[in-house]
Each structure stands twice: as C-alpha cells, then as structure tokens.
C-alpha cells in the first residue's frame, strides 16, 4: 500500500474542530425557534394527581405547555426493543427525572421560569431501585402487565431471561471450584456534549436535528409516531460531541417533534447536564460466577448468573443483556457452560448501550474469578489464561464464529509490556485480564462514491462520527482505492435526506461494515472506469486493470484522476459507485446473528496501593488490542487509550448514588467524578496486534470498545496482588479499598514502600 491506509493521517475536519468552527447540534440557529424546558418531579415514582399550568401560561413569551393530556390518546409509546416508553409520563412517573410536562417559549429563560411555575400535585409511591427490591415478593410492578400481553413474566419485574448452555456442568469433574458474586455500579456516559434536539415542520413532513448516533433508526421512530412516510421525515445528525452508546436511541426527540408540529414553529430542547444524567446510564449488574478447574488449570465448567438492573423502560438494554452475557464465559475453551442472564426492571432511569454493550459487567466477574482461581491453584494468572485461551479457529462458543485472532499474542504482548514476572516493590502489585466482545451480528450499510470530472470525489455515508474517527478512516480508504489525495475528497454524513441508509453506528462496526461498503463503491467506480478505458483506448477489457488509483493499460498506466477527464468526454459528468455491505440475520441463532468479528483486548496494570488511605495509584497501564489492521494507527491508539481511561472511571470512582426513595443524590459534574488529566496513569502504554485477519478493509477488525472491557478486573487483581485484599464491588474507591484493608481477613502488609512508585512518578513527571 502506498496510499494513506495505515498512516496516521490528520483528522478530516480537524482544523474546524480546533478553531471553534465545527457546528455541533447546539450551534445550529434556526429563525423563529422556540426553546423547550422539561418539567420533572423531585422523586422517583409518583402518582400524578393534577397538573396546573395556568401560572406558567401567563409568563410572557410562553407559547406552549404540553402535558400527556395534550398528546394523542393513548399516549404514544416508543422504544428500540419494546414500545414501552411514553412520550410523557402517563399517570405515574417511573423514575427520578421522567418528564410530566414541557414548556416552549420565545426564550430559554421564559421556558425555565414557566417550568418552575407548573404546579404538579402528586403522591409519592414506593419505588424499587435495586435488584433485590425488584425481585422481592410483592414488589410493585414497574411496568403495567397490560403493556406486556402474552409475556409469561408480565407479572414480575423480570423483563426477559436469556439462557445459553453447552456441555453438562453438573457432571464435570473438577479439582477446584471457585465462586463469587460481583457487582457493577450504575454509571453515566457523561459525553461533554449534552443531549439535544430541534424539530420543525418541513412542508408536509418534519425535520429533526439531533445529537443522535442512529439517525436512520430515529427517522423510523418519528415516522411511526407521527404516521408519516419515511420520506417525509428528515433527520439531520451533526457529528455528536461524544456518544459512547448513550446517544444511540431516541429519548426526547418524539416529545419535541409533537411540540413542534403543534406549535407550527421549530422547537429546540438542549438538556442540562443534570437532565442528561437522568436520561442515560450504563446497566448496573450483579453477577455470580462459579468455575471448575483441573489442578493443571484447565477449566472444566462455568456457571454464570447475571442480573442486570434496567430502568423503568427497556431502551436497548435487554439487547445488551443478551449480547453481553453471551460472552460471559470469556474467550476460553470451556467444555460445559450454563449462563442465565436476566433483565430486571426498576424505578430508575432507563439504562442503555454504553461502550462495551453489556460485556464489561460479566467480564468484571469472570476475569476476577480467573484471578482468584489462579491464586488458589498456584498458577500464574497469565499462564492460567494462556492455558485456556481459545486458539485461532476454535469454536469456543459451540456453533458460533470461531476465535478470529491469535489472541495469545495479545496476552503475551501485554504481559511483556507491563513487565510481568519481574520483581515488584512491596505495596505494589500487578494484575492482568482479558476482554472479549461480540461485534455486530447483523448489519446493512450503503455508501456512495462519486468520482467527479476533475478527479475529485464526493462520497456519502450514514455513519455518525462521534469522535471515533470514521470520517478520516473512510476518506483514507477511498483515497487509497482511487488514488485521490485525501484533501480532494468530500465526505457527506449525518443527513437522512442526503446519504443512503446505514443501520446504525454501534458495536465498533463502522470501519468493517461501512468501510467495506465504501470499498465496494470504490470497486464499482473502478469497474466502470475499466469499461470506459476499454472503449476509450480501443483495448479489450480483459487487458485493463484498475486498482489502487491507476488505470493499467497494456502499454502504459494513467492515474485515475487523469483518466476520468478523458473517459467522461466533453459532457463531463461523474462516475457513480454504490457499495452495499450486508450481514444477514441467522435464524435460530441466540443473538439472531453470528458476530462479524470479536473485539479482543488484554489489559495489564501495575498499581500501588496506599495502605493509609486506600488510594490506588496506577503506575503503569498497558492495553493491547487485536485490531487486524490499524487503518489509522494514531486514531487506533486514541481509541484504545481513551477507552482505557474511560474504563478507569467505573473502576475507580464513578457511581450514581440513590437515596432510599430512588432519587439521584449526585446529579451533575460537581458531585459525580469522572477521570481528569490528574487520573492518568503515570505510564499509559498501548499497543496493537495486527495480523490483517479481520473481515474489514485491508484485514481490519472493529475496535474502540476493547480497551474498556477488562480494566476493572485488571486493576482489582493488581490491588489483590499488592495487598491481598479481594474486592468484588466497584468502584474501587479509596474508602472501599481502605475498608477492605482494615478488615482482619485482609493481608495488611502493603504499608512498606510507596517509595519506588513515588520515584517513578517524579521521573515520568519530569521526563516523558
């Protein structure tokens, strides 16, 4: 390859993003726009008795107050998996932050003033906000059974149960059985760009501008709710300012669409950060793992019981329960397995997709279980994993996509980079863990590539670039295939009226599925050029080859950019290529499709634990991912290192704190801490394994989530290595670690030396 594929090409649109020129959703200004504000109650669950908006309506500038009574009846419901979420709360709020009304006014200040004046009479009702409370005998039902007709679980708070099994776990003969129960907290995405949308009547249809990750899915949702043809619903989706899964599916777009249609004017809603906290979170979980081992370390069986706590409405969370728990046996060769995962409804805010899509929760449990087993067996944790790791081509989940990488290379590389096996000072410890996540199981992406008469290119793609760098990767691929410089390519994205259908931007699919679609579109352009060259040069087509930017004729070769001028002739025009990349459903498959690829990562950390405070200092954090081929190595590194640090959030500090009634106590940036530059490990070291063995362009696999998957078990293992304390609940806050060290069971010897690490910190601070 001599084009830009494989190089760290500068981010497409980069200059606009460092100079304030890139227009995000909130930067769009429409004339005549109304500003919306939500009205919520300060409790989790309440029966709404009455809503008095008279004072609010008198606020100058107020144009509309919308309550559930003003919507079509019954109040329309929507949701990507189940149509369970009403546009506004109907009769009862089901979580802290669920809107009961909304105001639209000429100014945001007027809307905010009016929202405060709306008098809601309500009666607070008991809420179920934990797994235990939701499953308790006689627990109030979160969802009305009438919404779940024909569902045998409709009279419980269990939304779905997913079971996977192979082999016979009962009869497996083991020398050692290791079991434990682990909890994973509620955390939030905290994209720095808050969620928002604008809606406006557009002729006989509607246009929605949104921070949405899946514009085509939103188009479908709005079309259904408003009974409009798809062609009359246009979704404009500027690149999100961070999404991480939180922006996949509709939240308040339906509400704002109804408001705009009613007002006959554009309506704009930008959530506050606090409201965004009440709109999206990761699904918390409690996972019990029980694994049998032979004395030599071979796994004999594994049982996983994973209870995920969803919110009041399913959003896409039940899907992540099924997909995340599906790999809860890890990337290992396990002869017998039984996995039971439950999606449990609660009176908490709806959980949704978040980087890792349900896999980090069981991996926290299963990889910690591996570490405990290694200690009990007296086998090195790296060695224990290598002994059980599926080798390339091995069907580690029977009947499904076999191991698609030389995963042992990833583990060995991570171990080497962290200095595994070398002596470590007292008070410090090392931990290692592996992560696996199934890639997309279905997919459909179209791309268009238009080679213009002067050899420049306009292409389009329905992917959302929320920071993962898809724009740059796509332009690199087209530049490589067509031999056109990257700065002569324009890529259109984020507008359903302009770009062709793409199923969604999720599951690290885009480089593979959309990347393939772009490659196919380029190949179609090349094929047309070949026909054109045969006609133009009077040569048989079989004697012509068009690839990697050049037209090769028997006697000479011409760059594509030059040839297209000749080939198109006096009328000019363009050569149009359409690429389609499709991954079909697989009937009967437990996920309704086999994963296109697996994301595989190994994380290894070297950590120092302060015995006085319980504070964890990450001396070295190593993350290695099997990416097949890094189309843009700098972006790959950015994704891996970013995911690693994001993973330190739920590992070390992040969690929602709910009071007894289900109210969130730590809404917003003041009370909810995410990693800052001060939380960066002293040394952050990422690397990749590239065997060009992926299904995407040039052998690429999907990546971007892998480096987050197993941060928590790796850090916890390092804490155990350093202190002897085994902690099974996240986050590993200083207080929690300190308490664990203070209990008699813990080996409380880590006091000795903080010195070596402190020296290292000084060196890093001054040097690297």
């Amino acid at each position: 390859m001599n084009g830009p594929v494989g190089t760290s090409a500068e981010r497409v649109d980069g200059p606009a993003r460092v100079s304030g020129g890139y227009r995000y959703l909130g930067d769009i200004r429409l004339p005549d726009v109304l500003h919306a504000k939500l009205v919520t109650l300060d409790c989790a669950r309440a029966r709404i008795r009455s809503i008095d908006a008279s004072a609010a309506r008198r606020v100058p500038g107020v144009v509309q107050v919308l309550t559930a009574a003003d919507l079509p009846q019954p109040v329309p419901r929507f949701g990507p998996q189940f149509r369970d979420r009403p546009v506004l709360a109907v009769a009862e709020t089901k979580y802290h932050g669920e809107p009961v009304a909304a105001v639209a006014a000429e100014t945001l200040a007027a809307a905010e003033d009016a929202a405060r004046l709306i008098r809601v009479e309500y009666e607070e009702l008991p809420a179920v906000c934990t797994i235990a409370a939701a499953l308790a005998q006689g627990a109030p039902l979160v969802q009305d059974p009438a919404l779940r007709l024909g569902d045998p679980l409709a009279n419980t708070n269990v939304l779905q149960e997913h079971r996977y099994a192979w082999g016979d776990t009962e009869t497996a003969a083991s020398d050692l059985i290791v079991a434990g129960t682990y909890t994973f907290p509620m955390v939030t995405h905290f994209a720095i760009e808050r969620h928002g949308c604008i809606a406006a009547r557009d002729g006989d249809g509607i246009t929605i501008w949104s921070t949405i990750q899946h514009p085509f899915w939103l188009q479908r949702t709005i079309a259904e709710l408003l009974s409009l043809p798809l062609a009359k619903v246009r979704v404009v989706a500027p690149d999100p300012g961070g999404g991480f899964g939180g922006k996949q599916h509709a939240k308040y777009e339906p509400l704002v669409a109804f408001m705009a249609m009613r007002a006959g004017r554009p309506v704009r809603l930008i959530l506050t950060l606090e409201e965004t906290f009440q709109a999206v979170r990761r699904t918390s979980a409690q996972v019990r793992v029980r694994t049998g081992f032979r004395a030599d370390g071979a796994i004999t069986f594994r049982e996983v019981d994973a209870d995920y706590l969803l919110g009041a409405y399913a959003d896409i969370a039940d899907r992540l329960v099924s997909k995340g728990s599906y790999v809860s046996c890890g990337p290992y060769r396990i002869p017998a397995a039984r996995i039971v995962a439950r999606s449990i409804l609660s009176h908490t805010l709806p959980s949704t997709a978040f980087r890792g899509f349900g896999a980090p929760q069981p991996l926290w449990a299963s990889e910690s279980n591996m570490d405990e087993a290694a200690r009990a067996l007296g086998i090195d944790p790296v060695e224990l994993r290598l002994r059980n790791l599926a080798r390339r081509g091995e069907q580690f989940i029977p009947g499904d996509t076999p191991a698609d990488g030389a995963w042992e290379q990833t583990v060995r590389k991570a171990a080497e980079l962290v200095g595994w096996g070398t002596p470590v000072p007292a008070g410090r410890g090392r931990g290692i863990a592996v992560g696996i996540k199934p890639g997309p199981t279905t997919g459909l992406s179209y791309a268009t590539v238009r080679l213009l008469a002067d050899g420049s290119v306009v292409m389009s793609s329905g992917t959302s670039d929320m920071g993962q760098g898809a724009r740059t990767v796509y332009v690199q691929i087209a530049a490589e295939e067509l031999g056109v410089p990257m700065d002569r390519i324009t890529l259109l994205m984020g507008d359903t009226a302009v770009v062709c259908y793409d199923q969604q931007t999720s599951a690290s699919r885009s480089t593979v599925l959309m990347g393939n679609a772009i490659t196919y579109a380029c190949r179609e352009v090349q094929a047309q050029l070949r026909t054109m060259a045969a006609r133009h040069c009077q040569v048989d087509e079989s004697a012509i080859e068009v690839a990697r930017g050049v037209v090769r004729l028997p006697d000479r070769q011409i760059p594509i950019g030059e040839f297209v001028r000749l080939g198109l002739g006096r009328l000019g025009g363009e050569v149009i290529g359409i690429g389609e990349s499709r991954k079909e459903h697989v009937p009967g498959h437990p996920l309704s499709g086999s994963p296109v690829f697996f994301e595989f990562n190994c994380t290894a950390v070297d950590a120092e634990v302060d015995a006085e405070t319980g504070d964890i200092l990450l001396v070295r954090h190593v993350t290695v991912s099997d990416v097949g081929k890094a189309i843009n190595p700098m972006q790959v590194r950015g994704q891996d290192e970013g995911a690693a640090i994001q993973g330190l959030g739920h590992t070390l500090m992040e969690q929602y704190i709910l009071d007894e009634s289900g109210r969130i106590s730590n809404l917003g940036a003041l009370d909810y801490r995410i990693p800052t530059s001060m939380d960066l490990p002293l040394q952050l070291c990422s690397d990749v394994v590239e065997n060009a063995d992926g299904p995407g362009p040039y052998g690429a696999k999907g990546m971007s989530e892998g480096a987050l998957l197993c941060v928590a078990p790796a850090v916890a293992a390092a804490v155990t290595d350093a202190t002897g304390a085994v902690i099974r609940d996240l986050p590993l806050t200083a207080e929690r670690v300190w308490r664990a060290l203070s209990t008699p069971a813990a080996d409380s010897s880590p006091t000795a030396t903080a010195t070596a690490a402190a020296d290292e910190q000084r060196r890093c601070a001054d040097g690297t």
Binding site: E10, P15, G20, G26, R29, G467, G642, G668, A669, T676
Partner: protein, 158 residues
C-alpha cells in the same frame, strides 16, 4: 422581562456593544448574542472547562461570569486564535498528536493550554496535567492532549 444593560467589550480584537439581561452569562453573550459558538456549554457550574475563554488575560469559565461583569473587558475565544485561516502551533499540535476525538471539549482545552503556556512556556508533564485538570475530556485523550501541549512548547523553543 427583566431590564437590560448595554455593555461594551472587545471580543477577539473587535469592539462590541451588546444589550444583556442581568442573568445573562458571558457564555450566553458569546454564543447567543455574538454567534461565537466555538465556546462550548456543558456543566454550567464551572466544573468541566468546556466554556473556557480568556478574560483580560486570564482564563475563566464563561458559564460563571455574568455578562455585565465583562463590561469593558477584553475577551479572547477559540475563534480568535487562528489568523487568516492559519492555525496556531498549539492548535496544529492538537491535530498532530491526535488530541481531538469528538472535539467538543477541544476549544476549552486549547484555551486552557494557551493560558498555561503563556504563564509557563516550558511546563513539565506534571504541570500540564495540573494545568488542564479543570478541563474534562470524556473521550479521555488526556495523554494526547498533554503530548500536544508539550509539543507546542518544544516547538516554541525552536
């Protein structure tokens, strides 16, 4: 509606006059009244740094400064850095080092880094970490941001 005040200030070297209400923040003035949307809004409580601008030579969270407080002030925003479309060394370093992912926090990061370098042209890594601790990046490319600031400082030295 509340009473308005006429304030005069200089933004990116251009004198401006704006009518503002007492509850108007500098952030609203820049984004809504002047259309300078490069400065971003996020937490509105001074914790995330997305709205960082320079006010009379020191950086502030523009979400915490009342617009009337900026009467007579000289304000520089992210739009005021590049000249004739040429990025500053610092801005270019952000791109060269891969310090921009979604880019939403970038204007605030660049403004904070610019201020750091103005007061400390040769910061250590630790000083950069500390200097940018008030600017959250959820894409979490802190390592790349620190590298960009270091590279810009080194470049300045040449």
């Amino acid at each position: 509606m509340s009473r308005t005040h006429l304030i005069r200030l200089t933004v990116n070297r251009v004198p401006r006059q704006v009518e503002v209400t007492p509850r108007h923040m500098l952030l609203d003035l820049l984004r809504d009244d002047l259309g300078l949307t490069g400065t971003k809004a996020c937490c509105l409580v001074g914790e995330c740094g997305a709205c960082t601008v320079s006010l009379d030579g020191r950086i502030v969270n523009s979400c915490l400064v009342l617009a009337v407080e900026a009467d007579g002030a000289e304000v520089t925003t992210i739009e005021g850095l590049a000249t004739d479309g040429h990025l500053t060394r610092l801005q270019q370093a952000f791109l060269d080092e891969g310090a921009v992912q979604c880019g939403y926090c970038t204007p605030g990061q660049v403004m904070a880094a610019r201020d750091l370098l103005a007061h400390n042209p040769h910061p250590t890594t630790a000083e950069i970490r500390e200097g940018l601790a008030g600017n959250l990046c959820r894409c979490s490319c802190y390592a790349q941001i620190i590298a960009a600031v270091s590279a810009a400082a080194a470049e300045e030295e040449k």
